[in-house]
Amino acid sequence: MAEGIRIGLKGFESMFTKSFPVGNSLLLLSPPLSEVSILGLEFLYDGLKRGEPGVYVTLDDSPESLKLKALKFGWPLSNAENMGLMRWIDVYSIHANKDVKSTESIIRVGGPLALTDISIALSQVQAGFHRLSGSYRFFFDSLSTLLLYNNPNTIYRFLQVITSKLKMSNGVGFFTLGKGMHDEKVNMTIRHLMDGAITLNDNLELSVLSLPVVSETRFGKLTLTRQGFVLQ
């Protein structure tokens, strides 16, 4: 059974320790429009290089444009898609009236109201990953979009089910939430449903609110380079 993953992003070793335990969901609180999607792509690509499967659940962008974004940083994802290691759950495109269909690597879901379809898609992806590896990475971007369309209690129930499934299936990754977009009660309840939380401000300064492991560093500044993010 998988015990932990190594996060190979530059500078992250001291924050996440050498081996980060699987089965944990972390909340990434960040200002809207900050490039958290790049962080998500880099986090998944880092795993793919080690043969760890990854799933990106996107509510704010299409997988096609995210793939293009990744390619600009030198992170080709097509090979991993062909090997079944990289999967997408696209909750954006159909809702944005794009004329698209599901593919081998992309499961399209009708929109942010279709929570059952999102959970079924996650379950299908997890079952596929289970045949390939003991653990997998995920990036869910973002909970804020879900909260725009659903009432908070509905999302809490959804998260209770999803995080427990991610835990049982050895998933590890992030749920993003827009900073300043929701009231404090919503933020705190969602934090309560997670295993840890990290916050990012407008200057890309990162601080650990809580983590399921002891971290040497609790603060840092992210810099976006041509090769991706570096934490200093």
């Binding site: 009708g110 929109g111 059952t116 379950s123 209690n153 129930r157």
Partner: protein, 315 residues
Amino acid sequence: MELKESLLLWSSPFAESEAFMLDMIKSSGSKTFICLTDKDSKTFLAESEIKGYKINRATKFLNYDGDLKKLFSKIKKSVAKGSLLCVDNISRIIDDHGISAISGLKNLNDELTVIGAKALFLFTEWPYEDDVFSGLRSSFKEVATINEFNGINYFSLDGTTTPYSVTSGGLKVSNKIIVIGPEKSGKTSFIKSVSNNKSVFDNFSNDLTIDYADCDEFQFIGASGSNYSPLLSLFSDASSVLIMVDPSKHESIMDAKSMISSSVSNGFRVIIGNNDFRGTGLKASDLRQLLGVSDDIKVIDLFSEPGVLKRLLNY
């Protein structure tokens, strides 16, 4: 799968219940009304095609915009005797209106029953308060559940579980049939006789040998001797258990009784095969009496009836 009366389809958040609804719509042949609460009809139609179902043009979609009174009024105006109403999914309605929505849904269901229409309500079991679950259970006469485990969906109704998967060709019920029975009841001979190809066996362990045989699109799986328990857990995704009984042996009847009860308690659909290869003249109806099984368990004559296999598979 045909809908006999109004049904609440209660599914786990990871189980594919929409395919089940589509299959029921296909089998019903009735004028259908679909109320979608979390997606639009265009998306639903596209997803239905991916799941292997083409929705009839006569099907009408009823919009839900959060106004429950308006929705109920639209339903009552549209749905007539003999029609089928599908609500996908009532969890959204409960999210929006709380527990009060349940009594509204119950009243709607009662009114539909009075006018002679059937309804299928899909419900996703998110972690609601207990009163939502108990309210739903007490409001609907027929409740079927759908659970998911390792990519296989399990549909349960009236204590019988049917495993199925969703493919691009529609809903596929598991093609596996477990063959068990007391010693020397003719299991291996039966498996060999129905096989399209040469049947194979697998020495699974020192005390368990498993026989496999393909017959058309079905797969029969049997174990030698009377060691049947491991099969029930190893092949929990099987659709049915065929229990072979040699009616000439008294002890065979006793053993079969415990096999029936064990298979039923494991949620399997049970078929009893009267394998009168010794020619006692005992018929399926006699064997039913000897075993004391209820009418919902099928007992068939395996040896004497022509086309028995077809009957078995169509059951």
